[in-house]
């Protein structure tokens, strides 16, 4: 395994010792990266390693705090907000950037319409688009609306759009995350074609076997640091996983008490099936902390949204505390003692324009009312209690949720679901986007709740977190449970292998 010097100056687009901080939080530490014409260069690393930040700096969406970008041998300052496209550097966002209600042609020429004296030359644009679509192997009429296309087709339109801008550098953020196997094949055919034409392609993916298949070189980031750049042929999948991982766990995590294997089963899910899930079965015991790991989009959140009545179930049985029965609303789940704490704090968790008290009591509001009449005194007392118990730091009790820090918002959200006195708490991404001090507090709350006999499910993309606090970890892949690890087997290598599909054992099959 030969690790190259990061600053090979043969690249078309090079990052030279880039550092980036958001506010006071550093996310990239002097990272260098070179992208050669006619290569596919994969960028891998765990969530939070700094991949998207690096990608966005190299396409001009972020400006570096220090370091420089070299393009075509000359140091440049890339124009912001996609202006780098004019220079031939195109970033294809994971969530894609197309106007749903406009046609393929209109999207491809958006902002660069061919016009004669202000009048659109539709025929010229259409002819050009037909050529582009043929090039990417997409057989659709140029007048099709984007909203009628599949995700894979939309991706092809993005690529056609990039080509219409004569892209010399194509940066793709997890392009295969939402694609099926067959669609991935088509995408890779196009990527190979573009590589042969001399386009420099930067490819971010969590799927290591795809990285092995498509890329020429691999760069690994970890915790914002450059770990290595290596020719793909010199690496196997285990090498990649090892380079991505390799971090010592500190006492960020509370001591995990021994799981009681004889404790009552409080939740039993059998053969759960939804649009995206297949045969998901597992059990949760009283006082257990059960981790749910897997890639983004592997179906972790869907499992619990289905259980809590937020998404329809197609098949399967749910048994809670010995009673079998599905929940059709969040209220039913709440009354049965199950609450779900969303990962989307701002979109689904808190009313941003309301204060702490309104947010705190919203889930358990019937407890604060007598025949619909609110007891505001009782609400105020609950807030005082919650502020103390969860250490919510806001000097003004009337502060709006939107003005609170991420950490305090998360504590408020935790306090909100705890107002319902649940016996089972499902926490989706418990520490997303919050500082390390608050993280530690939240881990200790979780451990303390479990010690009191509350059962907890932690869904997390942060590997160290799942390992640090779980008694047992279930790994999901493509809407199925790929494996379960417990005790000493809970380590990053094992989990990554299951999540990436290297271990195909399915214990529930």
């Amino acid at each position: 395994m030969v690790v190259e010097s990061p600053m090979a100056s043969d690249g078309l687009l090079c990052a030279d010792s880039l550092s980036k901080s958001f506010g006071t939080v550093p996310v990239l530490f002097s990272v260098s990266f070179s992208l050669r014409p006619g290569e596919v260069h994969a960028l891998i690393g765990e969530n939070g390693a700094g991949k998207s930040t690096l990608m966005k700096i190299m396409s001009g969406f972020h400006s570096p705090t220090s370091g420089r970008i070299v393009y075509d041998g000359k140091p440049v300052t890339l124009p912001p907000n996609g202006g780098a496209e004019a220079l031939g550097i195109v970033l294809i966002h994971q969530e894609l950037n197309l106007s749903e209600q406009m046609t393929v042609t209109e999207n491809i020429f958006l902002g660069r319409e061919i016009a004669k004296r202000g009048i659109l030359d539709k025929q010229a644009m259409k002819t050009r688009v037909i050529q582009l679509l043929t090039d990417v192997g997409l057989d659709i009429p140029p007048d099709t609306r984007i909203s009628e296309l599949s995700i894979a087709q939309k991706q092809m339109v993005e690529i056609a759009k990039a080509m219409s801008r004569n892209a010399r550098v194509l940066i793709m953020d997890e392009p295969t995350a939402v694609l099926t196997e067959a669609e991935t094949r088509i995408l890779f055919k196009q990527v190979n074609r573009l590589r042969d034409q001399g386009v420099a392609i930067m490819f971010v993916s969590h799927k290591l076997h795809e990285v092995k298949e498509i890329s020429d070189r691999v760069t690994v980031l970890r915790d914002g640091q450059w770990i290595g750049t290596t020719a793909t042929e010199d690496l196997n999948l285990d090498d990649m996983a090892r380079m991505m991982v390799g971090r010592e766990l500190s006492d960020l995590y509370p001591p995990v008490n021994e799981p009681n294997v004889d404790a009552d089963i409080v939740l039993k899910v059998d053969g759960l099936q939804t649009k995206n899930l297949r045969n998901v079965s597992f059990e949760l015991r009283s006082g257990e902390i059960l981790g749910f790991s897997g890639l983004v989009g592997s179906g972790r959140t869907e499992v619990f949204e289905a259980i809590c009545g937020l998404a329809p179930m197609q098949a399967g049985t749910i048994t809670t505390f010995g009673n079998e029965g599905r929940f059709t609303s969040v209220a039913q789940a709440r009354d049965a003692g199950i609450v779900y704490l969303t990962k989307d704090r701002k979109g689904k968790g808190l009313l941003l324009e309301e204060g702490m008290q309104t947010n705190l009591t919203l889930l358990a509001l019937p407890q604060f009312a007598n025949r619909m009449m609110l007891n505001k005194k009782q609400e105020a007392e609950a807030l005082t209690r919650a502020v103390r118990r969860f250490d919510i730091r806001a000097r003004d009790p009337n502060v709006l949720a939107q003005d609170m820090s991420g950490g305090n918002q998360q504590k408020l959200l935790l306090a909100k679901v705890m107002e319902a006195n649940p016996k089972i708490v499902i926490i989706d991404e418990p520490t997303r986007g919050i500082d390390v001090g608050t993280k530690q507090q939240i881990y200790h709350f979780i451990a303390a709740l479990a010690a009191e006999g509350v059962s907890i499910v932690v869904i997390s993309s942060e590997m160290p977190e799942v390992i640090g606090i779980s008694h047992r970890v279930i790994i999901m892949r493509d809407g199925r449970i790929a494996g379960t690890v417990s005790g000493r087997d809970i380590n990053e290598t094992q989990i990554v292998r299951y999540a990436a599909g290297l271990n195909e054992e399915n214990i529930h099959a």
Binding site: A331, G347, K348, E353, L363, L374, R395
Partner: protein, 335 residues
């Protein structure tokens, strides 16, 4: 750390105060202007007249406050009032032969109106929630339907109430109780009930939560569809009540009954400080908004300075100025 504490304690006081007291200040200013133009403005007769005229729009606007707070809109209220008035008159005229021209006929007519209002609101609510059609489109549709129904029933003309029933029914609009006209009593009761429902019950809290963010509401165990449907039913009931006290005023209904009431009701709600996109509703503000709109028309009657025909212009200006004052970020300049 001290920095963070700082940002979390930023006071919103100046902005809040203007939002809270703006409509009240505006109404007081209007009264001062009215009085300075003509001292008769503050005479007992004129005040009574002003309050009675505010009652229709005010009662409807209380219902609209719930719909708008929960993130909806109801454009059908004016037409709904006309349709209910029409059907009510037809029914009472038909009942003369059976029940006579006494109180009973009026009570049955009023009961029928309330039922029709609730049903019309239920239709709007179910089409919006279960039918998953935008409230704007649903109520634009029902607006057309209700309006054409009254035109059809009146055969393009006017539906008139039986003369004898009018005599029985008349006091509902024209009589007073302890010096206060009956429509004003109804207005006061609706306003207090509305304020209580909005500010002191789980229902009001749920309306605010849904209008603020429907996803958060759903994830917080709120039955979003049920609550939203109820807001339209409440709106329908308010329209029915307003109609019941409106019919004895003229004793007739035609295709021009209740025209543009929906816009006046929405205007009253917005002037009162409720946010059009939902999530923040003020019943007290709505009452003031209704009074402000009626007062403008009333002042123009008292003066030759501005033509009475420019009533709409003045109302429009007030709406725009009110919203502009609410939007301006008065608190921000301080930090």
């Amino acid at each position: 750390m001290p920095d963070m504490a700082q940002t979390e304690t930023v006071a919103r006081k100046p902005k809040l105060d203007l939002k809270m007291y703006g409509p009240a200040i505006a109404l007081v200013l209007l009264c001062i202007i009215g009085f300075s133009l003509n001292t008769a403005f503050l005479s007992e007769g004129n005040i009574t007249n002003l309050l009675t005229r505010s009652a229709f729009i005010g009662i409807i606007a209380v219902g609209a406050t719930f719909v708008i707070t929960a993130g909806g809109i109801d454009l059908s209220v004016g037409s709904m009032a006309a349709a209910i008035a029409g059907i009510m008159i037809i029914l009472m005229n038909a009942l003369v032969d059976i029940l006579g021209t006494g109180v009973l006929t009026v009570v049955v007519g009023a009961g029928c109106a309330v039922l029709l209002g609730a049903l019309a609101g239920l239709a709007n609510g179910l089409l919006t929630t279960k039918g998953k059609i935008e409230a704007f489109i649903v109520t634009l549709g029902t607006m057309g339907i209700f309006r054409s129904l009254v035109t059809y029933f009146a055969d393009g003309g006017t539906l008139s109430l039986n003369f004898d029933i009018r005599g029985t029914y008349r006091p509902v609009y024209y009589d007073s109780l302890i010096g206060v006209p009956i429509p004003v009593w109804v207005f006061i009761i609706v306003a207090i009930s509305g304020w209580f429902l909005m500010n002191r019950t789980t229902f009001g809290r749920y309306c605010t939560a849904i209008g603020s963010n429907e996803h958060v509401a759903q994830y917080s165990a709120i039955n979003v569809n049920k609550i939203k449907t109820w807001t339209y039913v409440i709106q329908g009931l308010c329209v029915a009540l307003a109609t019941v006290i409106y019919v004895p005023r003229l004793g007739s209904a035609s295709s021009s009954t209740g025209v543009l009431w929906e816009l006046e009701a929405i205007a009253a709600v917005i002037i009162g400080g409720t946010v059009l996109k939902g999530g923040y509703g003020r019943i007290g503000g709505t009452i003031l908004g209704a009074l402000i709109l009626t007062t403008i028309g009333n002042i123009l009657n008292f003066t030759d300075l501005i033509s009475n025909y420019l009533n709409g212009t003045m109302q429009g200006l007030i709406i725009i100025i009110a919203v502009w004052l609410q939007r301006a970020d008065w608190g921000k300049s301080k930090d």
